[in-house]
């Protein structure tokens, strides 16, 4: 059984706030989960099929349990405690990073270390953001990620549509080939890619880096968009073509609006993949187009061990993305569900 088949069985959506498998950010091939989340969100019907009567547990010792859901109240309590403990453990490292960023620079390397700052200060933030090259690196990161996202969408949307709608032999070969490119270690193509860019005069530019980042996000985007297009009923565009729409017209006016939620999800993945990427950025940028991850890494060597500034910069770089993704999550999933219902 393939993952595609597993997905077709859908199952309950992971929730209205279906979690985004944004791990792609780490240049990882994490398509299956995305497809799982994406696909299941197109099947809102089953989401209501698990009514766990919350009040029933008070009267009876055991509530009606659906499948794997734990029934006994005592068991549930223990499980909740277990969950709380794991979430605290799992969340702690980042919280400690935040606390550290508010310590005084001396306190960050105090022996023994303390969890909370003795004295709360913004000094690390001032130091980190005031350093030359840091504000510019943010602009570079944004530029690179935006260009890469657009490039990835412009290329992947038609390709994925061609693959899923027409199911030709070439389409099957192409999606396999695109997946194979995901196995390529970036370190293997980084140097040749950098020298190619240099030979066309694009060395050390956001354009060159965003092209490199697109090599990471494009195969994933094609895969994601394919699974979104797969969920669009064929009748939809057939009706449109009967009404006199050209195939491109049907794609643009009928299909694209239905999958707009999927496009948003794909865009977020492509953006995160570029935003968090480090190796290509290290190999392909010098002063002019350096992105923030490279600057963060350089703190280690260039400025001795300034842990305070490093934690501050890391926090400033990570928090907007975490918040943005968590916020957009609901909208994206709602958009997808609506699109499917209307379609």
């Amino acid at each position: 059984m393939s993952i595609a088949e597993a997905n077709n069985h859908g199952g309950r959506p992971i929730g209205p706030a279906a979690p985004l498998p944004a791990g792609v950010a780490h240049s990882n091939a994490q398509a299956p989960a995305s497809a799982v989340a994406g696909r299941s969100a197109f099947q809102p019907g089953r989401s209501a099929s698990a009514p766990t009567p919350a009040g029933a547990g008070r009267k009876r010792r055991s509530v009606h349990r659906e499948g794997l859901e734990a029934g006994k109240r005592s068991t549930r309590t223990i499980l909740w405690i277990l969950l709380a403990a794991s979430l605290i453990l799992y969340g702690f490292p980042f919280v400690y990073l935040l606390f550290t960023s508010f310590k005084t620079p001396i306190d960050t390397i105090a022996v023994p270390p303390t969890i909370l700052p003795k004295e709360w200060t913004l000094q690390n933030y001032a130091n980190a953001l005031g350093r030359s090259g840091v504000p510019a690196s943010f602009i570079n990161s944004i530029q690179t990620a935006v260009i890469s996202t657009l490039l990835s969408l412009v290329l992947s949307v038609p390709a994925a549509y061609g693959i899923t709608r027409y199911k030709t032999r070439s389409g099957r070969i192409f999606i396999m080939a695109a997946l194979v490119t995901r196995m390529v270690p970036p370190v293997a193509i980084g140097i040749p890619l950098a020298s190619m860019m240099a030979s066309v005069g694009l060395a050390d530019t956001p354009i060159a880096l965003s092209i490199a980042h697109t090599t990471i996000s494009l195969p994933l985007s094609i895969w994601l968009m394919s699974s979104f297009f797969e969920a669009v009923p064929k009748d939809l565009e057939e009706a449109a073509t009967v009404d006199g729409c050209s195939r491109l017209g049907a794609l643009w006016r009928v299909v694209i609006p239905v999958v707009s939620g999927g496009i948003a999800v794909t865009a977020i993945f492509a953006f995160l993949a570029s935003w968090n990427e480090f190796l290509f950025a290290l190999l392909m940028t010098a002063i002019r187009s350096q992105t923030t991850p490279v600057v963060i890494a350089n703190f280690q060597t260039q400025f001795g061990l300034d842990w305070g500034s490093m934690t501050a910069l890391a926090a400033v770089y990570s928090i907007p993305v975490i918040l943005l993704t968590l916020l957009l999550q609901r909208k994206i999933v709602a958009g997808m569900t609506l699109g499917a219902v209307k379609g």
């Binding site: 393939s2 993952i3 595609a4 597993a6 069985h9 309950r12 498998p21 944004a22 791990g23 780490h26 240049s27 091939a29 994490q30 299956p32 989960a33 799982v36 299941s40 698990a50 766990t52 659906e66 499948g67 794997l68 859901e69 499980l79 794991s86 490292p93 980042f94 990073l97 022996v111 270390p113 290329l155 038609p158 390709a159 693959i163 027409y166 070439s170 396999m176 695109a178 194979v180 490119t181 196995m183 390529v184 270690p185 370190v187 293997a188 193509i189 040749p192 190619m196 195969p219 394919s226 195939r247 995160l272 968090n276 480090f278 190796l279 991850p293 963060i296 890391a314 968590l326 999550q329």
Partner: protein
């Protein structure tokens, strides 16, 4: 005039295919052709064709062989721990049902963090002297001395330590995939097994895990490929040290290319590394994961 559907589909795919050909396939071709040359690290320096000499050097280099084993051990550590933790969390979320939804979302936050930041953060937690981890274990009475475990300075355990950020970052992913898989197991099946008197362990090993097999396979393959390519987290934590004890294949190729200035040898190493990955991926993709096919 209307072009045939097949050609129309081809036109739609062409831009993406061209992009991948120019920016992935061509650099790969360059990598492979470089691997047959002895190349001066200077730009525009001399190139001398040496046949398979670089490959012989790679396979006879102890660094290369041990980096291969380290990559393997690293991948195995990351994937197995992630799987165990991810499955645990997925089961926990499933047994708690819909009310755990908010927490499920929060559980995903490390997926948005850059690996470089994660590596940095864990280095800060595990570093000797002012690292918090040793201090906390010391205060809890587990360690006699906060520096007893040299997380990042002891060559015997450093490979495990550098795997921690990777595990921390992507256990969420494993959990997410397995959770989605668990939702597809019919509730009746579990009910029936429970009525037959199946207890939790046999429920897990006899019913849940066999039913999850396809999902597990995909999750392990995807994460395995990523872990085998790990670079950022290791570079920022140890730069491959101490004594190359955490130097995995990506780092070795990088260092051979950049630091030791031997692009020919690095290309040969990169080619072997790539072929090994492709071979594994090919087997995995053809046997378990067949995208784009209606099965």
């Amino acid at each position: 005039m209307r072009i045939p559907d097949r050609r129309f589909a081809l036109y739609l795919m062409t831009p993406a295919a061209l992009f991948l050909a120019v920016f992935v396939a061509y650099p790969l071709f360059r990598l492979i052709s470089d691997s047959f040359f002895k190349i001066s690290p200077l730009v525009g320096g001399p190139r001398e064709f040496v046949g398979f000499d670089n490959y012989v050097r790679a396979f006879t280099s102890p660094d290369f062989i041990s980096a291969g084993w380290r990559t393997f051990a690293y991948t195995l550590t990351v994937v197995s721990l992630e799987f165990a933790l991810g499955l645990g969390m997925a089961l926990l979320f499933t047994t708690l049902g819909r009310k755990s939804q908010v927490w499920r979302t929060l559980f995903l936050y490390p997926l948005m963090i850059a690996p470089i930041v994660a590596g940095l953060l864990w280095k800060f937690l595990m570093i000797d002297n002012f690292g918090l981890l040793g201090t906390l274990l010391h205060q809890a009475g587990i360690l006699q001395d906060p520096n007893q475990i040299g997380w990042l300075s002891n060559p015997d355990i450093v490979l495990f330590s550098v795997a921690v950020p990777d595990i921390w970052l992507t256990t969420s992913f494993m959990c997410l995939v397995l959770f989605a898989g668990l939702q597809n197991i019919p509730g009746d099946l579990i009910e029936a097994a429970r009525l037959d008197g199946a207890r939790a362990p046999s429920l897990l090993f006899r019913i849940i895990l066999p039913l999850l097999r396809p999902v597990i396979a995909v999750a392990l393959v995807v994460r395995g490929i990523d872990a085998a390519r790990a670079f950022d987290t290791i570079l920022i934590q140890t730069n491959g040290g101490p004594q190359s004890a955490s130097e995995t294949m990506s780092l070795l190729v990088y260092r051979t290319m950049i630091r030791f200035g031997d692009p020919g040898l690095a290309s040969a190493m990169g080619t072997i590394y790539l072929l090994a990955m492709l071979a594994i991926a090919f087997v995995a993709v053809t046997t378990i994961w067949r995208p784009g096919k209606d099965t």
